[in-house]
């Protein structure tokens, strides 16, 4: 168990393909850190660099007190769970679990004990003598986990370990991995493209895009205070609505205004910051759950009500997704009360929770608040 540090790590393929671009992370001992981002964002490459499966171009990687930058995978004392599980097809579950200990020359008794302890933790006792091909997907996934925990390594590396499971099993295994990690207290770096996995599992989340770390924070902070437009739209489902608007000052209020009919007051906390951009265009962000039909809204007032035509109605049972014709190019999605009875073509009167308004610089896409 140890701290893991990425110190200005670069991974460049060829001349100028920056798969990992100046990544610095300080992962604490026992922490569950999730690396998340769209495919091709460099999260898997970063993990493979940590595992030693890829050489890094520049920078340093530390596990515990040790500089492991130039060590072979076998000398880094880490365990990895692969997306395809990568179980050794010719070995029984027992031999799969014991393989790493065997390579390290542990005694037969010791291997047997460790394997049985790991099998006990994961409920694999009855499967020890089977071959991987005789196991279901979920069981294979457990064996892959077991192969990682059997050795009590410094850190667990997991590369999309749930993406081959069906939806139900995935939710279940998600919780199991989290509680297993809490129980064992081993530093874990977990790569996924699924922001729900990231939100539910991570102590902290590192959002990456195009090789660059966008934001490193707790799930709630990431959701409430995204540093830039990428994080804002990547975290949360459905994604945050983003549309261009102007900052205007009238009647003692500061408003974001888009077109003739769309105008919202700016919350007190944001006034000062946004006034710097007076009469300029910015990008406004509103999460779907911060838009509610006036009848069901708690805080409808003059300054936060807009009227928007309904394009699509998606009833989900517990809530309804309304696609509204907004000021931007994309429709504005609102997550509204299930009692709402609107149909496409109707005009919805919605109240926006302006306290949760986000604003971004249209050029840099950095937050303005």
């Amino acid at each position: 168990m140890a701290e893991v540090i990425f110190d200005h790590v670069f991974k460049v393929f060829g001349e100028d393909i920056y798969a990992v671009n100046d990544l610095s992370l300080d992962i604490q001992d026992g922490e569950f850190l999730v690396l998340v981002g769209p495919s091709g964002c460099g999260k898997s490459t970063a993990l493979r660099c940590l595992a030693g499966l890829e050489d890094i171009t520049r920078g340093r990687i530390y596990i515990g007190e040790r500089d492991v930058t130039y060590l072979d995978p076998k000398d880094r004392d880490i365990a990895m769970v692969f997306q395809s599980y990568a179980l050794y097809p010719h070995m029984s579950v027992r031999d799969n679990l014991g393989f790493s200990l065997n390579l390290r020359g542990r005694s037969k008794d010791e291997i047997k004990q460790s394997v049985e302890r790991a099998a006990g933790i994961l409920g694999l006792e009855d499967l020890l003598d089977r071959k991987p091909r005789e196991l279901s997907g979920g069981q294979r996934q457990r064996v892959a986990l077991g192969r990682a925990i059997v050795r009590e390594p410094q850190a667990f590396l997991m590369d999309e370990p749930l993406s081959n499971l069906d939806a139900k099993l995935r939710v279940q295994t998600r919780a199991e991995i989290t509680s297993l990690q809490r129980r064992l207290g081993v530093t874990t770096i977990y790569v996924t493209h699924d922001q729900i996995e990231a939100m539910t599992m991570g102590d902290r989340i590192a959002v990456m895009n195009a090789g660059v770390l966008q934001q490193l924070d707790t799930p709630q902070n990431l959701y409430d205070k995204p540093q830039n437009q990428f994080v804002a739209t990547f975290i949360g489902s459905p994604a945050m609505n983003i549309f261009p608007a102007n900052i205007v000052q009238s009647n003692g209020h500061v408003n974001v205004k888009s077109g003739e009919d769309f105008s919202l007051h700016v919350p007190e906390r944001a006034k000062e910051m946004l006034l710097k951009h007076k009469d300029q265009q910015i990008n406004v962000g509103i999460r779907p759950e911060d838009i509610e039909i006036v009848d069901y809204a708690e805080n409808a007032s003059d300054g936060n009500i807009v009227r928007l035509p309904v394009k699509i109605v998606e009833p989900l049972g517990a809530e309804i997704m309304l696609h509204l014709d907004g000021p931007g190019e994309d429709p504005i999605v609102a997550r509204v009360d299930p009692r709402v009875r609107l149909r496409p073509g109707d005009v919805a009167q919605v109240a926006v929770n302006i306290d949760h308004l986000h604003a971004f610089d249209p050029q840099t896409e950095e937050t303005l608040l």
Partner: protein
């Protein structure tokens, strides 16, 4: 019309049409099975004829009308062949040569194809194609220069001359087939082994090689058969009966009966059957593994 009558009628016609379609299906299959039969006879008849001749007493060999199974089957031919020291010696020689060729081809081939299949290095593709080009030349085209080479090395009339030259056509084949095997193995399997603490050599012999076992068995068997059946090099590079392989021994067969002055077809056929048996037995033993090699997926199911 009642509600029950109609379904019953429909049922009857359904049954009829089902019977008819089964009948048509059988009819359709007849040409297929005829074809299978023709191919089987075509392939098996020479072997059957050799077997028939081997158990026919010499006197009955040319009897008319033809006996498709001899009236007085005999094992005399086998007895005399197996008492022939030269033939036993040839069996031993062939076993030594074919086994050495197989083992060497698998060892060298496995290393070569692991390197070609799993590592990227400059000149990898050219190497693969040069290897393939080796199989391009007809045996007869390289025979002259090989002969010079063998005599210069002082290997003429030794089993080594055969082992070395047979590798020339078994090794490229082995490398090609095994390279495909190694290339198909998922990268993550290898990486998992590295993370688990294996050195490249341990990855090779503890993880990749066992998975490639069906490929090794298949190529090994084919290499063995090719070496066992080879004739031209054996004819050119060996001279004395104590270095003959089985194909050559049969070619130069000296009959044990009739004072050695007539061609002993019965004994030749018996010898032919005897040298075929090891191949059949080997194939039967390994056929399950060969099939497994053709069908098994690597990790994901």
């Amino acid at each position: 019309m009642t509600a029950t009558a109609r379904p019953r009628a429909a049922e009857a016609t359904a049954e009829q049409s089902q019977a008819r379609s089964t009948f048509i299906n059988i009819l359709r299959r007849i040409p297929f099975y005829l074809l299978v039969l023709v191919i089987a006879v075509y392939l098996m008849f020479p072997f059957y004829w050799a077997f028939r001749s081997s158990i026919t007493p010499d006197a009955d060999l040319f009897a008319t009308p033809v006996q498709y199974f001899p009236e007085n089957p005999t094992l005399d031919n086998y007895r005399s062949v197996l008492e022939d020291d030269n033939f036993i010696r040839a069996l031993l020689n062939s076993t030594i040569v074919a086994a050495s060729v197989t083992i060497l081809a698998l060892m060298v081939g496995a290393f070569a194809s692991y390197a070609i299949g799993r590592f990227s290095f400059r000149g990898r593709t050219p190497v693969l194609y040069i290897v393939l080009a080796m199989t391009m030349f007809p045996q007869i085209a390289v025979l002259g220069s090989l002969y010079t080479l063998i005599t210069d090395l002082g290997l003429f009339n030794s089993l080594w001359s055969l082992i070395i030259t047979y590798l020339m056509f078994t090794l490229p084949f082995t490398v090609w087939v095994l390279t495909t095997f190694f290339q198909q193995m998922p990268r993550e399997l290898e990486e998992a082994a590295y993370v688990d603490g294996a050195t490249p050599f341990q990855v090779f012999y503890k993880v990749l090689l066992p998975i490639a076992a069906p490929g090794l068995v298949t190529t090994g068997l084919l290499a063995f058969i090719a070496a066992w059946n080879e004739f031209l090099f054996a004819l050119s590079f060996t001279q004395t009966p104590d270095k003959f392989t089985v194909t050559l021994a049969i070619f130069r067969f000296e009959p044990q009966t009739a004072g050695g002055f007539e061609i002993a077809w019965g004994q030749i056929m018996a010898a032919t059957i005897i040298i075929t048996l090891p191949l059949i037995i080997l194939t039967l033993i390994f056929q399950r593994r060969i099939l497994a090699g053709l069908t098994a997926g690597a990790v994901k199911g």
